[in-house]
């Protein structure tokens, strides 16, 4: 399974995640050892409350790890400055935008911030990258629209374009498919898959769409009560990882179709 380490872009060792206050330490998950390969689409799945968002938030340095290490591009995440990180990793979160009174173009252009000068002027190169990002996500026709005029599906595409314009090796998305209908869920995930192929970026997303993720992802991270497994979807199916994902009283995993069925 293990290949040449130069393919590995993000790696965690003995990572323990959770929340720390002055008095108590709440460990949500520990002993996380995952390796993400360059240019792959990686899906993170698990039951509600298992710590998917906490893991993502730790990986993007929004909250500190309790123990263990995270290595991004061979450098320890702790010692990476915010600005260095901004050039290597971009994010799409579930939290709503503070202001939706920006045009799509302006919003996508904000992705260039780590590269622009102190007042944020865009160079020719920046503009090419922004237009390119709009094109990759197929929203060039929306670029003069205001964000409050957009549907949830469109806004999600805009946020992905913004992350693309940040020109990073890794893009992390926290539940990019929530609030979307079945078609758009598939559309967004398919788009992410296409982006990894076209741009060679590594894209990590968390999702509840296990069926879709099994079909589209190169690698999946499955978070369970006791451990976190990271492998190719077909291996995970044969190993029976998905069987133990949820309590067995309502739904069961069907290995032949690769999806969950009501029992």
């Amino acid at each position: 399974m293990k290949k040449d380490t130069s393919h590995i872009i993000l790696k965690t060792e003995q990572l323990s995640i959770g929340y720390k206050t002055k008095k108590a330490k709440t460990v949500i998950a520990s002993n996380i050892n995952i390796e993400l390969q360059k240019g792959q689409l990686i899906g993170l799945v698990g039951a509600n409350g298992i710590g998917k968002s906490t893991l993502l938030r730790t990986l993007i340095k929004v909250q500190p790890a309790l123990s263990g290490s995270i290595t991004l591009n061979t450098k320890d995440l702790e010692s990476t400055t915010n600005l260095e990180l901004a050039k290597q990793l971009s994010i799409v979160l579930t939290e709503p935008l503070t202001s939706k009174n920006l045009s799509v173009y302006e919003l996508v252009a904000l992705g260039r911030h780590p590269y622009t000068n102190w007042v944020g002027n865009l160079t020719e190169e920046d503009i090419t990258i922004i237009n390119n990002a709009l094109e990759l996500v197929n929203i060039s026709d929306l670029k003069d629209r205001r964000c409050y005029e957009l549907s949830d599906g469109q806004l999600q595409k805009v946020m992905i374009a913004r992350a693309l314009s940040q020109d990073t090796d890794v893009i992390v998305l926290d539940e990019p498919t929530t609030h979307l209908d079945m078609y758009h869920k598939a559309y967004i995930l398919k788009l992410l898959q296409k982006l990894t192929k076209d741009t060679g970026k590594t894209i990590l997303f968390s999702s509840h769409e296990i069926d879709l993720a099994i079909q589209l992802c190169d690698t999946m991270i499955v978070m369970r009560e006791n451990n976190v497994v990271c492998n190719e979807p077909c291996h995970l199916i044969t190993e029976g990882v998905f069987d133990s994902l949820f309590p067995k009283d309502l739904i069961a995993f069907d290995k032949t179709s690769g999806s969950f069925r009501v029992t």
Partner: protein
């Protein structure tokens, strides 16, 4: 520019427009008029510009920082701090005895008291805000400090004489006049420092439009930019309050007015636009306060709200949508 000239040409002594120009550009026709123009009206017009643009900009900074359209330059307790300082000097002077009181209540002492008061409250807010991570908490802390100082002021007011109370209320009306060139220079110096800090924050402000976490992912040092933004606001709003009194409304309304007109939240557009609008609106309000052709000058604080509030209401009703 037109507003500037109109503002200068209006006042309790009527001076023909031609002489106004003459006086501005150095040819003296009538020495009394010349003194009025150069020492009263010109400083007043400049004060109006500084006050209007300054309050507008600090309101804009606060609204973006706190992600709250209700925020204004005074949410951090700046005006209440200044009020406390002034109240202590004017209302508290009774407690120190008569002779001392007359020395205390000079104009400079009021300016200094207002500055010290707002600085003190601001430092308290800053100290607390460096401990909390949530930007919303700072907003509430600022409002709480405001309540505390307001309470202290009302206790002081309860124990003071009618004359002292009147004097305090007059300060509360706000005033753009009575600033000498020297005072204006100090005013401008501190104001300029605040504006420079605001301009430096444009990029950070734009990324804050996405939310704190996104801004951080774009490489912004949230804590540092938050302190710079608060510092800029307090420098500007603090000096404005110290020299012109607690002028309400402008700081809250101008950013909304500008957003409605320009239909954007991009600070590269908003900052200069707010600067301009603030200055223009303040000049217009001051011209109205003079009541052209009469000897009376109305309190500027009343005029800004009387003129401005209907405009903002009208804009919001017409567009049916709050831009933020």
């Amino acid at each position: 520019m037109i507003c500037f000239i109109v503002n200068i040409s209006l006042g309790s002594v009527s001076i023909p427009l031609k002489s106004v120009f003459g006086s501005l550009f150095g040819s003296i026709e009538n020495s009394t008029w010349d003194i009025i123009i150069n020492n009263v009206r010109l400083p007043k017009a400049i004060t109006a510009i500084l006050v209007g643009s300054g309050l507008g900009i600090s309101g804009l900074l606060m609204q973006t920082l706190f992600r709250n359209p209700l925020a204004g330059p005074f949410v951090l307790g700046i005006s209440s701090g200044a009020s406390l300082g002034v109240a202590l000097v004017i209302l508290g002077s009774g407690l120190f005895g008569g002779l001392f009181a007359t020395v205390l209540i000079s104009k400079w002492s009021i300016v200094i008291a207002a500055s010290l008061g707002s600085l003190l409250v601001l430092l308290a807010v800053l100290a607390v805000s460096s401990k909390v991570r949530d930007t919303m908490a700072i907003l509430i802390i600022g409002l709480m400090f405001g309540s505390i100082t307001a309470a202290v002021v009302s206790v002081l007011a309860y124990f003071s004489s009618a004359e002292q109370l009147q004097q305090y209320i007059f300060w509360g009306f706000g005033s753009l006049s009575n600033l000498s060139w020297n005072e204006l220079l100090i005013f401008f110096g501190i104001y300029a420092l605040g504006i420079v800090l605001s301009i430096r924050s444009i990029k950070g402000l734009n990324s804050l439009l996405l939310g704190d976490n996104y801004a951080k992912s774009l490489g912004l040092n949230i804590k540092q930019s938050r302190i710079i933004i608060i510092l800029a606001t307090s420098l500007i709003a603090g000096t404005v309050t110290a020299f012109a009194g607690p002028i309400a409304f402008i700081g809250l309304a101008i950013p909304h007015l500008t957003r409605q007109i320009f239909k954007t939240s991009n600070h590269k557009v908003l900052l200069p636009a707010v600067f301009l609008f603030g200055a223009i609106v303040m000049l217009i309000c001051d011209s109205i306060a003079q009541i052209p052709g009469s000897d009376y000058t109305l309190p500027i604080n009343a005029i800004t709200a009387l003129v401005g509030a209907p405009v903002v209401i009208w804009l919001l009703v017409r567009q049916r949508k709050m831009m933020f």
